[in-house]
Structure formats: structure tokens, C-alpha cells
Symmetry: C2
Subunit: 248 residues, 2 copies
Amino acid sequence: MSTVGKAVSLLELFTLHEPEIGLSELARRAGLDKATARRLLMALAAHRLIEQEPRSRRYRLGAGLSRLARIRDAHFPFVRLAAPVIRELSLETGETVHLSEFSAGALLTLHVELSAKANRVNVDVGQVLPLHGTASGIAFLAASRLEAVGAYLEKPLQAFTSFTMTQPDDLVKAIALAASRGYSRSAQGYEEGVHSIGAAILGTDGQPIGTLAVASPVSRVDDATAAGQGEAAVRAARLISARLTGEA
Amino acid sequence: MSTVGKAVSLLELFTLHEPEIGLSELARRAGLDKATARRLLMALAAHRLIEQEPRSRRYRLGAGLSRLARIRDAHFPFVRLAAPVIRELSLETGETVHLSEFSAGALLTLHVELSAKANRVNVDVGQVLPLHGTASGIAFLAASRLEAVGAYLEKPLQAFTSFTMTQPDDLVKAIALAASRGYSRSAQGYEEGVHSIGAAILGTDGQPIGTLAVASPVSRVDDATAAGQGEAAVRAARLISARLTGEA
């Protein structure tokens, strides 16, 4: 991996559940020796992408990331335009709804509205979703150009649960079904016990730029509920697309 | 500069006014040859920190930045907690109010509420404010430990306008005055025609973590107006500090 790749990999070790990590642990997980990790962290800190907690000396993501993200968001206000629609869909369905943006082969979870119910699906901001294991991913592929789908299917498909579709044939059927009805449906393909309905959000050129998904405990969703969630998800995704392209 | 530093410098070329930049221009401004710039951009793109617009092939900040910033913001919700207070202060004063977070020697503008007036000060999200030229910076220094002020004054002080304080003695007086009244006042130290009132926001350990500032056209502010803005700014900054530390 390039030096830049190694440095950015260090940033990617931080999650919602682990916002601060010490030097030894960062080095160990990145597979770097401590001196290299420290040198990379210092370079990132000089540019404010990382910070050191003054007392514990542990590292955390830096204010420079907030700055760059705000410049990006001003230009491409995906989350800002979509968030109220995601909230509304969560209230309407009573379930957790999450928003993802496609980037370099995966879907990045950028906004989550949790269900108010005690028994709900928890999704974390920052989670990276694989395309073949999730309703979001299948909805994304169903809205993509055929050559993009073909390229994706050429790569090995990792199993996340015993329900993950790892055979290209099964995936093609699921993609075709999602394309015909406008939304995808996935049960336990990424995490056991989770049922998801996904819909693609299109950009100005008609190509998909992200997805939204309604995630419910699998016990709560029968076919009628799923169909209702599917229609609501499609309406919400279309509204976000229209707002992004200035049509609504 | 390190390879990582060079790569991050490329990200820092993007602004609110220039969200997309082509390869040659990026290379030129970063002082890199095109091959090196392309190699660094490809490494950043592989980790989603940069994207290429499919048609124009110009580069822009990537979705990975939004993802990392959202993980950071969940852990340290500075902007989310402060934004409503900043909005309220803008309505109360009728002027533009901006919020900054301190990082690696400068203040990063993370949120702006513009005045509703036609004649107003425009401040951009993402702007990096020097400490000695701005009301924000002087308020920050006035709330800092003496050794931090001393260290800052040892470095050369750049002039931004003919009004910028570049003499350590003048700056020490302004800092002392700000420390005694709780807010700073700066006229045209960073940009001509701009009058600013700044107040520091303190973190849990009582040390300043950022600032807010009320920015008005200099023609609109007499001493009484400035004093009123100062009191309102101090109240707002204390409220944000209290919210950050869980006291309000």
C-alpha cells in the first residue's frame, strides 16, 4: 500500500464505538511498526486530520475533517437535503431508516434515523455496506448500468451470514426483481435478524448516487408490511432525487 | 513536506468557491509535477477522500470525508450543539455570526449564520482564521494559558490589512483587554470594512476549544452596539460551553 494509503487507513480505524485509539493499538491494527505509525500520525496531525487527546495522548479524528466535509457538503448537500426525508420515512414506517452514498465500490452510511421502538435495528453512521449483502446494495446495483453490475459480479462475493447471496445467479435474480418493482428486499444477508427494504437515489444524470433502506427486526415484517415499506421507500428516494436535481 | 502532507495539501486546495479542480491546476498550485499529483490523487480516491467528476474528470472532495466527519461529530458534537446558539445570536444581533474550532495553531470556520441584511459580512465555512488578525483569535488567546500566548507571539505576525496588529506589544494589550471584559473587539484586522466581536468557547477542562464571532460592516458599529454585541457573544459562548460539558 502507498504511504498515503497507509495514513488514510489509520483514519479508517476510528469508528462510532471507538472514537479514540492509542498509538500501539493503531500501529498493531494497521500492521505498521510504531515508528512508522507515529510518523504518519504526525503528518496527519500537522494537517488537522487527526488530534491527540491532551491528557491520555490517545488519537482521535481531527477538526480538519469537519472542515473539509463542510466544504464538500456545501457543494453537494446530499445529507442535508435527504435527512428530513429519511426522518419522515422512519416515522411513517416506525423503523430505522439509513442513508448511504456510493463511493469507490461501496455504500457509506452517512445518516441514520433510529426507530423509536425498543426492539429495533441499530445502524451506525460511518458503516460501510457491501453491495451484494444488503438491500441498499441490491437496490443500487438494480439502478446501475449493466456493465457495472457485471464488473461487480466478477469479484468474489463474501458471505456475512448463512443467508448472504454468494452465487452470481442468485444475485442477478434479486437484482432483476428489485429493478422490476423499484425496491429491493433482503433478509439477514448482512446481519442475522435484520430485514431490509432498499431504494436507489438517482443523481442528475439518472445514475444512482446512493440509497436509503428501511431496516426492521425480521420477526416484524410479513409480505404486506414489506410491500408497504417498499412503496414508501421508493416515494422517499424519488423525493430526495428530485430535491437533488432541483425538481422539488 | 512528507508524502502524506503533500496529499493532504491537495485536499486543502478545495474551497467553497472552488469545489472542483482539474489535475493540471491542482499540480500547479501544490507545486507538484503532474505525475506525482496524479499518483497522490489516485491514493486519496482509493480511500474515497477525493472523487473525480465522471464527465469533466475534474477532482472534488470525496464521500469518505463526510463519513469520517460524521464519526468525529458523533463523538464531539461541537457544531451540532453550537449551531442553534449561533443562529439565535445572529437573529439577536442582526449580524453574521461564525463558529470556529481551534486546531493545530489556527481557527477553522465550521458554521456560519449570515445576517439577513443586504449589507452584511460574508464569511465562508472552511475559512482558516489566523489568531492575531481576528476577533476570534484574540478572544481565543485571551482564554489560553499564558505560555501558549507567549509561544504564539514568538512567531512573525503577518499583516493582512493596514490595520492588522503585527507588534507583539499591541497584541498583548488587545489580549489583556479581551481577557478583562470577556470578549475581544477587532476592526479591519483581517479584512477591510469588517468589525468583529469574538468570545471563546471553553471545553470541559476550562481551556478554549473554539470561538464565536459577530461580524458587522464597520460602518454599522459604534461603541454602544459593540458593547451590546459583546455581552450577547459572551452569553452565547457560555451557553455552548455549558452544553458541551453537559451543564445545560
